[in-house]
Symmetry: C2
Subunit: 200 residues, 2 copies
C-alpha cells in the first residue's frame, strides 16, 4: 500500500483505539496489529507514539479549520460570525463524538509537542474570535479582546464535553446556550466602543 494511504489508515485506526482505551493504555503493537502491519512501520511513518498522537490531532485540527472557515465566510455581523463559528464547532464535535474528547484530553499527557498541537487548535479559534472583535471594533483593548476570546473558547469547549453526556443536546441547541450566556456581555462591550467599522 502506498505511503500516504497507509498513513491515513494508521491515523484512523490510532484515533479510534486511543479514543476507546486512552493513550496510555494503548500499545503500539496493538495499533500495528489492527492496521495489519508490524510495529516498525508505525515508527517509520510517525517516529514515536507521541508522533502518532500528534498526527491524529493535527488532522482533526486541519479539518476543523477548514469547516469553520467555510462556515463563517459569509457572516455580516459579529453576532452572526460568532453564531456560525460556534455552530461549525459543535457540528464538528458531533461528527467526531468518539474521538474528540479523548484526543483533547489525552493529548495533554504526551508532553511538549502534543500540548502545542492542541494549543494550536485553541489558538486557531481564539485568533478567529479575536480577529472579529478587532475588525468590528478596532479600538478594543487588545488584552481584553484576548481574554474575551479565551472565555468564549473555554465556554464552548466545556459545553462540547458536556453534550457528550447529554445526547439530546445537539449542535444547534448548544450554540444557543453559549450565545445566550456570552452574547449580551460581548455586545455590551462592543457598544461602548467608538463607532464600529463595517466588515470588509
Amino acid at each position: 500500500m502506498p505511503k500516504a494511504q497507509r498513513m491515513a489508515q494508521m491515523l484512523t485506526v490510532a484515533e479510534e483505539i486511543f479514543a476507546e482505551q486512552g493513550y496510555l493504555a494503548t500499545s503500539m503493537d496493538e495499533i500495528a496489529e489492527r492496521v495489519g502491519v508490524s510495529k516498525p512501520m508505525l515508527y517509520e511513518y510517525f517516529g514515536s507514539k507521541e508522533g502518532l498522537l500528534i498526527g491524529c490531532i493535527h488532522r482533526a485540527r486541519t479539518e476543523l479549520r477548514e469547516k469553520t472557515a467555510a462556515a463563517i465566510a459569509g457572516a455580516r455581523s459579529p453576532e452572526e460570525f460568532l453564531r456560525l463559528g460556534l455552530l461549525a464547532f459543535f457540528e464538528f464535535i458531533d461528527e467526531h463524538r468518539r474521538s474528540w474528547a479523548l484526543l483533547r484530553q489525552e493529548a495533554a499527557v504526551a508532553v511538549p509537542s502534543a500540548q502545542e498541537e492542541v494549543e494550536g487548535i485553541r489558538q486557531q479559534q481564539t485568533d478567529m474570535i479575536g480577529a472579529v472583535l478587532a475588525s468590528f471594533t478596532p479600538d478594543i483593548d487588545p488584552l481584553e479582546a484576548e481574554a474575551f476570546a479565551e472565555i468564549v473558547v473555554g465556554a464552548t469547549e466545556r459545553l462540547a464535553v458536556w453534550t457528550e453526556r447529554r445526547p439530546a443536546v445537539g449542535p444547534a441547541l448548544a450554540t444557543e446556550y453559549v450565545m445566550a450566556v456570552i452574547w449580551p456581555g460581548v455586545a455590551e462591550k462592543l457598544m461602548k466602543l467608538p463607532a464600529p467599522a463595517p466588515p470588509a
Copy 2:
C-alpha cells in the same frame, strides 16, 4: 517518619515533579529518590503511579472546595455569589501556579479514576453554580441551568490557563473579565423568570 507526614511529603514532591516534567516523563524511582525513600514505599502508601497522581488532585480539590465555600458564605445576590466564587478560584490558581495547569492536564491521562477525580472538581463547581441559579430562580429549566454552569466553569478554567501566560493579569482582573462577559447573559436569563425568591 510517621505515615501521615510521609504521605503529605510524598504528595508535595510528586505534585512538584509532575508539574515540572509531566506525568509520563516522571518515573516513580525519581520521586522516591527526591523524597529520600525507596520506591516500594510509594506503592505501599498510594498503590500505583496513578494513585499518587489521584492523591495530588484530591488534596488540591479539597483545598479548593474549602476556600470556595468560605468565600461565598456571605453572598447576598447571584452576582455577588458568582463574583466571590470566581475570585476564590482565581486566587487558588494563583497560589498553585506551578502545579495547577499540569495537574489538570495530566490527570486526563491516567485513565478512569483520575479522570473522575478531576471531573469531581468541576462537578463541585458546576453544582455550586447550578445551585445558586436554582436557589435564586427556582423555575429555571434544569437543563439550561446545567448548561449555564458548564459554560461558566469552562470560561473560568480556560481563563485561568491563559493567565499563566499573562502574569500581569491577577485574580481580580481575571474575575472582572469573566464577569463582564457572562454576567449580562446570566442576568438577562434570571430577569425573564418569575419573581426570584430571596436567598435563605
